[in-house]
Assembly symmetry: C2
Homo-oligomer: 471 residues x 2
Amino acid sequence: MAYDIAALKARLDGIRLEENPALVRQRSRDFYWYSPTLKRQLDTVTADIVAFATTQDEVLTILAACAELAIPVTPRGAGTGNYGQAMPLAGGVVLDLSGLTRIVEIAHGRVRAEAGAIIADIDAACRPGGQELRLHPSTYRTASIGGFIAGGSGGVGSITWGGLRDLGNIIGLKVATMEPQPRILALSGEEVQKVAHAYGTNGIILEVEMPLAPAFEWIEAIIGFDDFARAAAYANALGEQDAMLKKLLSVIAAPLPQTYFARHRPYLPAGQHIVLVMVAPIARAAFDSFTARWGGRLLFDSDAVGTEDAKGLPPLYELSWNHTTLRALRLDPAITYLQTLYPFPNQLDLAARIHAELGDEVPAHLEFVRFDGKVTCFGLPLVRFSTEERLEAIIARHEAIGIPVFNPHRYTLEEGGMKQTDAAQLAFKRAADPAGLLNPGKMIAWDQPDFDFGAGRTYLFAGLAGKDGAP
Amino acid sequence: MAYDIAALKARLDGIRLEENPALVRQRSRDFYWYSPTLKRQLDTVTADIVAFATTQDEVLTILAACAELAIPVTPRGAGTGNYGQAMPLAGGVVLDLSGLTRIVEIAHGRVRAEAGAIIADIDAACRPGGQELRLHPSTYRTASIGGFIAGGSGGVGSITWGGLRDLGNIIGLKVATMEPQPRILALSGEEVQKVAHAYGTNGIILEVEMPLAPAFEWIEAIIGFDDFARAAAYANALGEQDAMLKKLLSVIAAPLPQTYFARHRPYLPAGQHIVLVMVAPIARAAFDSFTARWGGRLLFDSDAVGTEDAKGLPPLYELSWNHTTLRALRLDPAITYLQTLYPFPNQLDLAARIHAELGDEVPAHLEFVRFDGKVTCFGLPLVRFSTEERLEAIIARHEAIGIPVFNPHRYTLEEGGMKQTDAAQLAFKRAADPAGLLNPGKMIAWDQPDFDFGAGRTYLFAGLAGKDGAP
């Protein structure tokens, strides 16, 4: 479909635009290439033009113009997603929000910032007051807070605070609607869930208000075990230690750490299954006692590493969550991954069982979290990719034994999530984006209300199917 | 047994002492009279003399003198215990530590204070830095931090942080031994558990180091439900909301609140089973959404109460934990109570079942907490007391259906606790109090190593049995 880009440009006088195809293409992609499936499907996706907003007023101007001209708008923060969240399947405008960086207010227990503010920058501004954000993705140093909320789910900090879907982890959102006269809505309480993790399909997040936790110089520790199941059991038990303040609790099966964590390799003896821990300094002695009880080997301890040795090391959280995948991919392009949940109370059995069955092809990586008030773990196992058919078979095998898969090889909200319509998000889209111009192709419930999630078919956005390279 | 008090006085020149029998008796008791059994057993217990320490050096002087003269020493903080923890069963010296009030250091995430410091005073000192203690008993405004650690287990804050037994809720303890030349020991990590909740039987706590959490002007809310089981289910679900910062979550069955919470009575319609909630202001909107989902009635809301109305009201935590019992006792001296645990994952079934069976005689009061990483509840049900035999039968009935009872009608560590020897505490007593002079009669494992906890017999301390009024 051809859009009237010339008319759009006339209306956006004074706003920074980019039409150079190479640069537009660059701003039209994220880390979708983690998935060979998405890479095949989305590799040629590109917008017609990128509009860079630096103020909220500019966002409203862009939305109004696009609404009148019926040009799709796909919002983008820092482009650190993995599912093509910010990729414009129908072309049109990529609305780059990375210029909306203002930190509006820091108070006791909360911060208000514009959507494009980088998470690490928000923390840096909060740190003098002894505070920091509860949650961040492993892309802490590059991701925007609005992008995290629109496209993420949790990460570092989830072992204490749960995920973004939990009521209270987002205090409020200021959202613009996609209309010729955009409205600004203030959402709080459970209303935020209409827009959080909706990939920007039903509103543009302008500002966020997030809770803050005490900031610490978190101790980074790597604990080793000879046995994978023992490492997982230790992590689970440490997760259940309510009084030890933690920020990260990851389990990564040998030989992944030894193979892929290049800078930390000197600390990682062969055969050791490792647990990554970020724990508050006030819990130091308790943590040491607890780890000694379990017979864990303290392989790495940021308190004990000399400043010279520490210089070359990435922060521990950049070995965790999807950075584990990234490090593997950098060394071995045939690697991809899954996202799974090992439901409480069977998480240890399920994780050990699937690792015993598929561990050579699908080596285990667990991230312990609080989920519905209990400690359990997500999995981000690596996959030594062969074919898409085999990948589907691996997913089916997980689901057959009771391990739900949040499929990271799908670009739609529903297929990558709960595989069902989110009625609240759909209703909000009807009100806030009546013409369906925001990030088209990502919400199946909007595009194809009769799609059968149970039929085992992959949804293909019609607007995408017409493009080169689409299946 | 007669002690050489004259020789002791000569050695304690310059230290404040009290020998007036009425005043000594006053300082020899706590809230043991919550229990009719303990009231009968302990009513005549008194020390020979009270020694008031105002410095740690004075504590060492007193301990050295008593160790040389073989005079028992029972430490006392503010005397807010309920089990006779600080009552000198063998007479001798009550060591009053309420003069040790110095707050030694406040840092990010932790505070170091002397044992006699009042908990509310510690918080007042920490508040300008935006911090407060994680946990406190309902006797917040009167209890000492050392007494809480030596004789308490948890309370307000346990819904987020678990209990004092959890590694990390006590960072460190500075302890004096009971020897002619007392040693000072610094305990940290799991070592603190040797002395915590040991009633001062195996060392005298001089200083404590405790973790701090962010301080808030906690919202106080009372939520009403028509149905007790529904109130409990709501509280359990709210407890499992990882992202809503809470400090208190109590369920009290009708008609207890209406009968005993005099000042709050205007807010408490007849028949409403209530949930007491202290929640952080940053969780306000999330809390309101969550409560609306459950159909809870917001009966009381500190945000909505005028300052004039608020003046006459006690803080919400003074309706909770053992203050619930205290309020009932004040109006009805025939009331006593139990302390129970409803083990996860059956807490709701067990609480509803025993309340349905015994609710008229043993009306329910639940305190939701984190326990071993899960949300569950303790019970502090009231008991309409008839006879000690009936009380024992009620306890037996609880235990028969899987509800452990931490019997608050026993003055020993073991019978009021896990009904088994704590080997670490016993071993520490051998090293730190070799002559067995600290708080005699409270640790059965020391006094009578062959006592059979399974035989259903109540332990009677020999030194106490010889006194008037003992059984």
